[in-house]
């Protein structure tokens, strides 16, 4: 039951994001568009490139989808609305998200095309940039909650949300989450202007539909993680907990989508440099600040 509800919420959010994405590209707000788009993808031919690494080519979109769903499975929508409240939930998120990289590399290698391959390796090249900035802010969050359990992390924010308690961590995590979901302006592996679609470039038909769904789901999962870690999860007045979770998640997800619209794509070298020179030290500072706060404030 819980599984069904969470999956439904995930799918619903993905649908909403697809509507918004459609609005951004076509200028029309059409609720049925994702449905038609999905059907149209089913109707299109699903081309296999000439000499693919078949295993990787087929597995990549599915792996991406599975990873996003697995990540969602350990995030609570409400105190008891969680598929698996793992004892190491906060770490599990990291583990699941690490496989986004694997999926992208597989999608890049699989089709045997230059653009896709460069895109895949690019994403790997950016690894330090985003993965450290996912892990280290979560560390600070877990420090405050004194637990890796995601429900405990939300409970720890009952009085004060983490976005206020550790705003630095929130900013870093939000940026890193966008980079991990490779949304604009961090869409380096799929850059259209540079790579003509990159890792997406060779997928068509059903496979493309799965890939698109997976990417939207990934955004939802990351937004949900942001909500759980920084926006107080289900906490909020009046409305039932699940509603708060959903609203916050969607707000974060939509803002992730919108930000990219108003920014040019970042230079890879800049992203790397800023993450090393600025991001990682700031993440460490964040950990220290949180540590001090925990010690000083009872």
């Amino acid at each position: 039951m819980t599984v069904a509800i969470v999956l439904l919420a995930l799918l619903g959010s993905a649908w909403l994001l697809a509507v918004i994405e459609g609005w951004m590209t076509t200028g029309r707000l059409s609720p049925a568009a994702p449905l038609y788009s999905g059907l149209a993808h089913l109707g299109r031919e699903s081309i296999v490139p000439r000499s693919p690494d078949r295993v990787f080519f087929e597995a990549a979109p599915v792996l991406l989808l599975v990873v996003a769903v697995l990540g969602m499975a350990v995030l609570p929508l409400a105190p008891d609305l969680i598929i698996a409240d793992l004892g190491t939930g906060a770490l599990f998120i990291n583990a699941a998200l690490a496989y986004v990289l694997v999926a992208v590399i597989m999608a890049g290698w699989g089709p045997d095309g230059a653009y896709a391959m460069i895109g895949g390796w690019r994403f790997l090249g950016q690894l330090i940039a985003y993965s450290m900035l996912i892990v280290m802010p979560i560390t600070a969050v877990a420090m405050r909650a004194e637990s890796l359990v995601n429900t405990a992390i939300v409970s720890s924010q009952a009085g004060l949300w983490n976005i206020v308690y550790q705003p630095l961590g929130f900013v870093l995590f939000f940026i890193a989450a966008m980079a991990l979901a490779f949304r604009a302006p961090f869409d380096l592996p799929t850059a259209e202007g540079d790579l003509g679609g990159g890792v997406d470039a060779e997928y068509t038909g059903v496979r493309l539909a799965v890939l698109r769904l997976a990417r939207l789901t990934l955004v939802v999962t990351l937004a949900s993680a942001t909500t759980v870690f920084y926006l107080g999860g289900w906490h909020g007045p009046l409305f039932p907990p699940w509603a708060w979770s959903l609203v916050k998640t969607l707000a974060v997800a939509v803002s992730m989508l919108l930000v990219g619209r108003y920014l040019p794509r970042i230079r890879e070298a800049d992203l790397m440099r800023w993450c090393w020179i600025l991001g990682i030290p700031l993440a460490l500072v964040n950990i220290i600040i949180v540590g001090l706060l925990i010690l000083v404030v009872p």
Binding site: L39, G43, I47, W121, R122, G197, A201, L208, I266
Partner: protein, 600 residues
């Protein structure tokens, strides 16, 4: 134009009895995305608003269901278009907007004229065609000669053995390996051999030829070798096939595994293929590692570049080691009898052409700046005819030129937005371009605030400066710079400076328009039956263009055109060398090359 509104059978998909089929067809019709050839900027320059017409613009053929061809396209582009069509997933359709069906394609499904109304109406027909005819009983293979390369069979060990049929080598008995004729010959030092994946042709659909957007396959060594081995794992003798790299000088003779079994220390004598041998000939990257380089085509229909421009980059990972740009749509010596270019400058000796025809010809050959070239032709002819300037006409003409300058720069901004993944800029600039394109003086005055805010917004956009600053710095000794590129050269000469130069020019043109006459398309004044020679120079949006021509009895005998882009395109190799891929493309983009104005 098909009356029954179905998709032609090379584009439709096999019909399968299914209840869903009807629904899927409807969905397909509601979800049309088009790949625009030569490029969205051409459609914009023609004043077509694709989005308003109800089509989604797709950047890759893999994601497109409609191939939209705007205007007439050159011979070379026809080949590229056929490849793009082949790459699109079925069901797919061809939409011709104001042009002829390219020879390499099956007939157009829908054609329309070059106007927004006609386009909208054509899209409606297209939707019906998809709803009714996306699935047919017997789809045909799309087959065009450009998709085929002759396959020949070579012995991996003996490069001199080349056969037309598969079989075994007469010298050593090894199985022959298929490769594309005319491809790499085995005695090159090192290059990117493309042949190793060719014999998998029959395994998949008819589409899979090309690495994306172009019909040349450029995979790097390890990549497809790798795959090939995967395919070969099941049968033993495929082992032999793999030995045939074109490192011809290496010793492949002893594949006998037994020899290695005892430690293999005597590798000099055994069949051990040395990695040192393999890597010693490879080029060294900037970081000193010997890596395989990859030659990748970008274009002629590439989302980040103006359509018709083909950039061939040699990539070392994500870095560009060298690059070259060619134009596939340039003012080539098309049609018109026996032309020979006399000089590299691009002169054309065509058959006699009526003066008006000549003007039309020139204007339609350059869709990105038709007014400028129309003006240029008019001026040159009038001078040849000995007509003196007429104040009012000149002012109106100049206003039209300034208006086109604004529109053209907006088009460039939209194109930059596409390249930078900056959706807002693309949308804003193209909307404005459509409005400015044929606006009167009052309308432009109304649009002025919007145009000016564009600059302010760009100034305030985070990341934009760090993205553009220091990109595409022109070499100090570059000569023959013209137009915005030349004017920005004093200002640092990078992409950022060029962006601001163009924004400033938009502002300056606005001022000129405000004080000038109502813009009016240049029309040739009556020249009668005059003869003579004329020369004119017009500062087109991309830089000065010069035209000299010879007029005989009111007909253009010969002419010589010199454009800015023909010079700018030569800057490309220097600009991209040693840059990261994204930066290199941005540098090329910042030149605002119009492949149409490149004289080949």
């Amino acid at each position: 134009m098909s009356s029954d509104l179905t998709i032609n059978s090379t584009g439709a998909r096999q019909k399968r009895p299914s209840l869903l089929q009807k629904l899927v067809s409807r969905a397909l019709a509601r979800n049309l995305s088009c790949l625009i050839v030569p490029g969205p900027e051409v459609a914009l320059a023609h004043g077509l608003d694709i989005r308003a017409a109800g089509l989604r613009i797709s950047t890759t053929p893999r994601d497109a269901s409609v191939l939209m061809i705007v205007g007439d396209i050159s011979e070379k582009m026809c080949d590229a278009v056929a490849v793009l069509y082949a790459q699109m997933p079925r069901p797919r359709a061809i939409l011709l907007v104001g042009g002829q069906t390219p020879s390499t394609l099956p007939g157009a499904d829908i054609s329309s004229g070059l106007s927004q109304d006609q386009l909208t109406e054509a899209v409606g027909r297209l939707e019906r065609a998809f709803a009714d005819g996306a699935f047919v009983d017997s789809p045909e293979e799309f087959d065009s000669s450009v998709l085929h390369a002759r396959i020949e069979y070579v012995c991996p060990m003996h490069p001199e053995v080349v056969e037309d049929e598969p079989g075994s080598c007469p010298k050593c008995g090894m199985d022959l390996v298929a490769r594309e004729a005319g491809e790499s010959t085995p005695d090159h030092e090192h290059h990117h051999d493309h042949e190793h994946h060719r014999h998998e042709h029959e395994h998949y659909h008819d589409q899979e030829q090309q690495s994306h957007h172009d019909h040349e396959h450029h995979h790097d060594h390890q990549h497809h070798h790798d795959h090939k081995h995967q395919h070969g794992e099941s049968d033993d003798h495929s082992e032999h096939e793999h030995s045939g790299h074109d490192h011809g000088e290496h010793d492949h003779s002893g594949h006998d595994h037994e020899e290695h079994d005892h430690g293999g220390h005597d590798h000099g004598a055994s069949g051990f293929m040395s990695m040192i041998e393999v890597t010693k000939d490879l080029p060294r990257s900037a970081d000193g590692l010997q890596m395989d380089w990859l030659e990748v085509p970008f274009g002629p229909v590439f989302p980040g570049l103006p359509g018709g421009l083909k950039l061939t980059l040699t990539l070392d990972g994500d870095g560009v080691t060298e690059g070259q740009a060619t134009s596939l749509v340039g003012m080539a010596t098309e049609g018109e009898g026996s032309e020979e270019s006399q000089e590299s400058e691009g002169s054309q000796e065509s058959e006699e052409m009526d003066a008006d025809t000549f003007i039309e010809h020139l204007a339609s050959a350059i869709p990105l700046a038709p007014v400028s070239y129309r003006l240029l032709a008019c001026l040159a002819i009038e001078q040849a005819a000995g007509l003196s300037d007429d104040q009012a006409t000149t002012q109106a003409r100049n206003s039209a030129l300034e208006r086109e300058r604004i529109a053209s720069h907006l088009g460039w901004l939209a194109q930059s937005g596409r390249q930078l993944g900056f959706a807002w800029l693309t949308q804003r600039a193209s909307t404005l371009q459509l409005k400015v394109r044929d606006a009167g003086r009052d309308r432009i005055a109304e649009l002025e605030p919007e145009l000016r805010t564009l600059g302010t917004r760009l100034e305030r956009t985070p990341l934009l400066k760090s993205r553009l600053k220091g990109i595409g710095v022109l070499p100090v000794d570059s000569s023959d710079l013209r137009g915005p590129v030349a004017r920005a050269a004093e200002d640092g000469g990078d992409a950022w400076a060029r962006l601001w130069q163009r924004l400033d020019e938009i502002a300056a043109s606005l001022e000129l328009l405000k004080s000038g006459e109502e813009p009016e398309l240049p029309v040739l004044r009556d020249i009668g039956n005059a003869s003579g020679t004329g020369k004119a120079t017009v500062d087109t949006p991309r830089g000065e263009a010069r035209l000299s021509l010879k007029l005989e009895h009111g007909k253009v005998k010969s002419y010589k055109l010199d454009t800015a882009c023909s010079h700018h395109i030569d800057l490309v190799p220097k600009l991209v060398e040693g840059q990261e891929l994204g930066d290199a493309l941005l540098a090329v983009g910042s030149l605002d090359l119009s492949p149409w104005e490149v004289i080949s």
